[in-house]
Symmetry: C2
Subunit: 124 residues, 2 copies
Amino acid sequence: MSGVWVMGRSGSGEAGMSDEALEMIAGRFRLLAEPMRLRLLQALQGGERTVGDLVEVTGATQANVSKHLGMLYDAGIVARRKEGLNSYYRIADSSIFDLCDLVCTSLGEKLAAQHEVMRGLGRK
Amino acid sequence: MSGVWVMGRSGSGEAGMSDEALEMIAGRFRLLAEPMRLRLLQALQGGERTVGDLVEVTGATQANVSKHLGMLYDAGIVARRKEGLNSYYRIADSSIFDLCDLVCTSLGEKLAAQHEVMRGLGRK
DNA sequence: AAACCATATCACCATATAGTTATCCGGTCA
DNA sequence: TGACCGGATAACTATATGGTGATATGGTTT
């Protein structure tokens, strides 16, 4: 409803948003387009975690976890705090959970609708 | 705020959402992680369009546009209506615009913050 | 029917990226 | 100091995917 997305269109009446803007938006979506990263974010929803914690929770290798965290960090989605040997990661942009909620709701409605169709077939 | 995303966590206290659920969510994000598809959706925001219309608007090849539209169609994000030689596409799940708005807002805030940092450096 | 048109699909190539292994780096502790 | 530990990074492989040109499909027009 904020209209930032819509604004790009209304401005020039036809042109749409710039290539760079679309690329940025797509890039943000791309970061969330990976189950492992979603799992990491979900784990961080419970509060600050070390890389080791996240390795344990996800069952992934340390290198893989570290790489994904690095990507999320570069994008500013998570923040990092180093203490002794450990790196503590935490959510820096909680709006991503709103995104996930929206997607979940949308998918849930779609599945419910499909289920209803099947039920309709059943009782013919 | 709906809490669908959060629910997965609160349920078992630690396990998180299932792999399939995360895969579905990631898949939805993956669809939006492409500038060309975002451009198509943006064009469709103005109402129903034929493939030819979208080819003209985006400047992409017909095959490419058709392929992307097919993906969005399979995911239920757009709907299709065939009339004569033409296929008319339209938005079927408008919640994607809410997603785009959220991302735009988040990115905008991030850029504004960075800009502020630079300004701070400027006037030292 | 034949020519034509809009769209969908196929086969292909080029590129991007997730995962793995090995290694490096910095800090801690004996 | 040297052994050890957590984490980051590099090199590599395998796979997924976007773009393209060619072709198939289904409907229209003459």
